[in-house]
Symmetry: C2
């Protein structure tokens, strides 16, 4: 947490919940005037604490109500195969997240699709087309219990 103070932290907490808060509103919540708040935001952007601003959409309304986690293990662990897998995964738009994991399984993928049928097609015609996949194990999300968009800031 190099070089940021409690005011900066509070600013980050507020902005990661609502990026549309105006400098004016932020200033009043922080007990400052416009200028210092404005400068702090620019500084936090410059330092990389704030990476970007995004609109959060409703995946249900977008027609992708199904979320699954898919565990993938490679048959062989040559660097070339690993690189190839990572490269191919980037291209699959259904894959929202992909992590290289420690432990039994090599990769964990988070996938969004519109229906079970779409998931079937995704696995059969896209994912399993990637070379050298050994194990492929999918589990479905029944319910989202918690999904924080921001991080905990100590």
């Amino acid at each position: 947490m190099d070089g940021i103070d409690d005011i900066d932290k509070q600013l980050l907490r507020l902005l990661q919940q609502d990026a549309k808060l105006t400098t004016k509103e932020l200033a009043s919540q922080l007990g400052l005037t416009l200028s210092p708040v404005y400068e702090r935001i620019k500084r936090l952007e410059g330092l990389g604490f704030i990476k970007q601003y995004v609109a959060v959409l409703d995946k249900g309304l977008l027609g992708q109500p199904i979320t699954t986690f898919c565990q993938v293990s490679m048959r062989y662990h040559d660097k070339a195969f690993i690189d190839k897998f990572e490269e191919e995964v980037q291209k699959l738009e259904e894959v929202q997240e992909c992590y290289h994991m420690a432990g039994q399984v090599d990769f964990l993928l988070k996938i969004h699709v519109g229906s079970l049928n779409d998931y079937h097609d995704f696995v059969k015609y896209k994912l399993s087309q990637i070379e050298n996949i050994g194990v492929l194990n999918s589990t479905f999300v029944l319910k989202e219990i918690k999904h924080n968009l921001g991080y905990y800031i100590p």
Copy 2:
């Protein structure tokens, strides 16, 4: 995708990548003038397609470089135990996401901490304190291969 057209979809694609784009910039990219773009955004917000706007922070700079996925199974599956677990998980600030899953394991948790030590403390003093947990299986993220912030919009 009830009641939104291709222009709306393109608008959503742009905004979920960069919510700071001005109406002017959006208008020029969409080949429209300010007013229709402005009204479309308000409409998409009203319909719930756009849920909120957030700043995306850098978890490494915030001192939480470690991500783990933790699979949890309950010993007994009475509704009261399930409810209690879901309730307690909400309170744990290290837990960024929690899903009730189909399959062998009951819950999947995504957790952010600052160090392996922090993770140890989290499991020992917080997570495992919740009643009725049977299996608890943690796997660490070695590398983030892909992390789309937005959804794929067909």
